[in-house]
Symmetry: C2
Subunit: 257 residues, 2 copies
Amino acid sequence: MDNYKLINEHLKKIENETVPQVSIDCTVFGFHDNQLKVLLLSWGHTDKWCLPGGRIFHHEHADEAAVRILKERTSLEDVFLQQFHTFGDSQRYKNESLFNTLSIDPSWLSSESHLLKRTISIGYYALVNFEQARIRPDEFSEACSWWDVKEVPELLFDHNNMVQLALKTLRRQLNYQPVGYNLLSEKFTMPELQRLYETLLGRELDRRNFQKKMLSYDILERLDERKTGSANKSPFLYRFVREKYEEALKEEILFGV
Amino acid sequence: MDNYKLINEHLKKIENETVPQVSIDCTVFGFHDNQLKVLLLSWGHTDKWCLPGGRIFHHEHADEAAVRILKERTSLEDVFLQQFHTFGDSQRYKNESLFNTLSIDPSWLSSESHLLKRTISIGYYALVNFEQARIRPDEFSEACSWWDVKEVPELLFDHNNMVQLALKTLRRQLNYQPVGYNLLSEKFTMPELQRLYETLLGRELDRRNFQKKMLSYDILERLDERKTGSANKSPFLYRFVREKYEEALKEEILFGV
DNA sequence: TCAAAAGTGTTTAGCATACACCCATGC
DNA sequence: GCATGGGTGTATGCTAAACACTTTTGA
């Protein structure tokens, strides 16, 4: 019951200190085992899952709120984080049923509370390093874990929709900007980078052409190290040249694979 | 003073019937005289200009609200209208100064009114037919007119920013989707279509290559008519084949010019 | 008859794609 | 030694870009 008290207090804080009827939901992508992963929270004591999210404090920029929410869930800062769509359907979800699911007593909130009203959600997507992320659930959730994008279960609200659109946006972004700085470790091999692209695009790429293309963008530095440990020729390690990578991000042009 | 009364009533309606602290702003593009135009409203009795905008009713989808707002300003429905960004800076504008500008007595609103608080704005952009649009100002504005995108004055709030980002989004969209159905008349010549693309892209294109490219997409039908009236060979008229155009819109792939 | 702009096809260059052999590593 | 997967270069085809002359029209 102590837990409920905490939840109640948290609800009050949200009710009083955040912009009403607006929320933020984050689709957080990671890459591990050649799989694209997405971060999900289990709602309350149920086995229903949803995206990490939160509210915007009265004097906070929406982008700041997204950064804060992401940091709370992953401990990470300075990662790729971008708004991709605002979900404005008045029927997106009914908060009443949501409170039932969560076993929250609605009497804790006045019937006028904006938390019971329709909510417009600003969707952000983030690209984070899977190994560095220290993930943890929020006040309303029991568990927090990575799911293979291909195995995302049925989510609460319109969150399946959000994941799909985030993914579509991410794929489109691949045409304009390099990706990988945020999803891979600092040092990585060319095959690893290729797996990432293949996973994101959902199709296989030619090794030789991929390498040629990537190197032609002049954002990679080949190190004098190789990755050992598997029963084959050790691949070279590469690293993004930060300044050139940032430049490419700004230019936003031609980045086909 | 009657006008003020109307404004006051309208304010009350907005205050009571719309989602608090959220607004919609529309960047409406038209094409005329080989210029890309954008629709602006003059605020109150001032010579300050801003984008057309509005609020979302409690049970209205944000997209529906945008459609409604666009219809109110242009009389047009069924046009291209798409969300492009949500502006969430808590300092986007101060409504107090806004009410001063408008000569609205703040006592008409309670100090608790959400209309006095920070507002998050969902930005939409629309492509409309310049000739068909019957434009008119809203309750808060005196005038409504088209401005050449290159000559947009300093706008209120962060609206210059919005126009720039809408334009950037529109240009990017050119890579994925055909444009023109919404901006041109039903029948148009190839040079007219080319001017549109040149204006949007801000660079000149080769006549022969442009025509080849456009025809290759198989979304145009050449009519047995020509456009006469100028001192040169009469160009053929073309028309978009609706079904094929829609198909191309959905595919969202490869549409370089 | 002249100026202005549209109709039309071919050549070229650059980029994307397809493709194969040798080499290093761990078991 | 052998299976696995990485390192590397070339040939081909396709698409994009460059380019000029003739024709029609209104003034």
